[in-house]
Symmetry: C2
Subunit: 160 residues, 2 copies
């Protein structure tokens, strides 16, 4: 697997799994009907550094971004987001993207990373904990999960 910075031309290869994940409305607090244009503006924003994971055949199987979670006096706390093609779940792609993102965030001078809204039923919670994140707090019943009903949103944190 290769993790590299995304180029504008990668977007059409990110969008199919991005759309599938957001439309499922189980893990992201974004509009499940987000258009491709809005999704591209959100994920590929100039404020974000975007990465893709490529498998050995050159297929894009995941993507992640890093950005500042706050501005001004708090700009040294990073935020990141991750999407892995659901057809490629369980192959270590999320972990590889996260390890890469943690290393580049640290190298870029960020002192900590915060995830603002991790759906508490998302299996990725265990991955984040295994990577040194802890649950700072849970916003109760903030997320209407299509199968589980109202579930909490974790705020997760790790120092870098």
């Amino acid at each position: 697997m290769l993790i590299r910075k995304a180029a504008a031309g990668d977007w059409p290869r990110i969008w199919p799994f991005w759309h599938r994940i957001v439309a499922a409305a189980e893990t992201y607090a974004w509009d499940p009907d987000t258009s491709e244009e809005d999704a591209r503006a959100l994920w590929m924003s100039p404020a974000k550094t975007v990465y893709v994971a490529e498998d050995d055949t050159g297929a894009v199987v995941g993507s992640a971004y890093v950005t500042a979670n706050y501005g001004g006096p708090a700009a040294r706390v990073a935020n990141a987001g991750f999407m892995v093609d659901p057809d490629r779940a369980g192959q270590g792609i999320g972990r590889a993207l996260a390890e890469h993102v943690l290393a580049v965030a640290r190298a870029d001078g960020y002192r900590a990373m915060v995830f603002n809204a991790v759906v508490e039923t998302n299996p990725a919670v265990g991955l984040w904990i295994s990577l040194g994140f802890r649950i700072l707090a849970t916003v109760p019943e903030a997320y209407e999960h299509p199968r589980h009903g109202p579930v909490g949103l974790h705020i997760m944190y790790r120092a870098l």
Copy 2:
């Protein structure tokens, strides 16, 4: 005091205290050098409902916004922000704006309100607690305060 929805023409009366507060870099996690144009785009964004407080002479002495804190399946959690002219501190303007904003957010169908980044040394923390908010968690040393050094950012919550 009158609290009413802001009109586009109110911006020049908000900007002087907005700029003074953000430039002081003690309470907002925004770039202290934010330009007037960027500040207007941020505060008066179409995604936000903006209010102003007018004193008896018609002077704009404070402003607040309400917006969704998340999207999609979590869109029923609100976020809000508040600015009071520092020359008018201690006159109940922040409390009046907050009570108004809590009432309209509830009326608009929001189930809860979250503040994502309240600087822990901000005297407003006491106001939010007196209004029913609680500190869900504190992101440690996330904010470089010009007088206090690194201080935490509270995530504050109340049900509506």
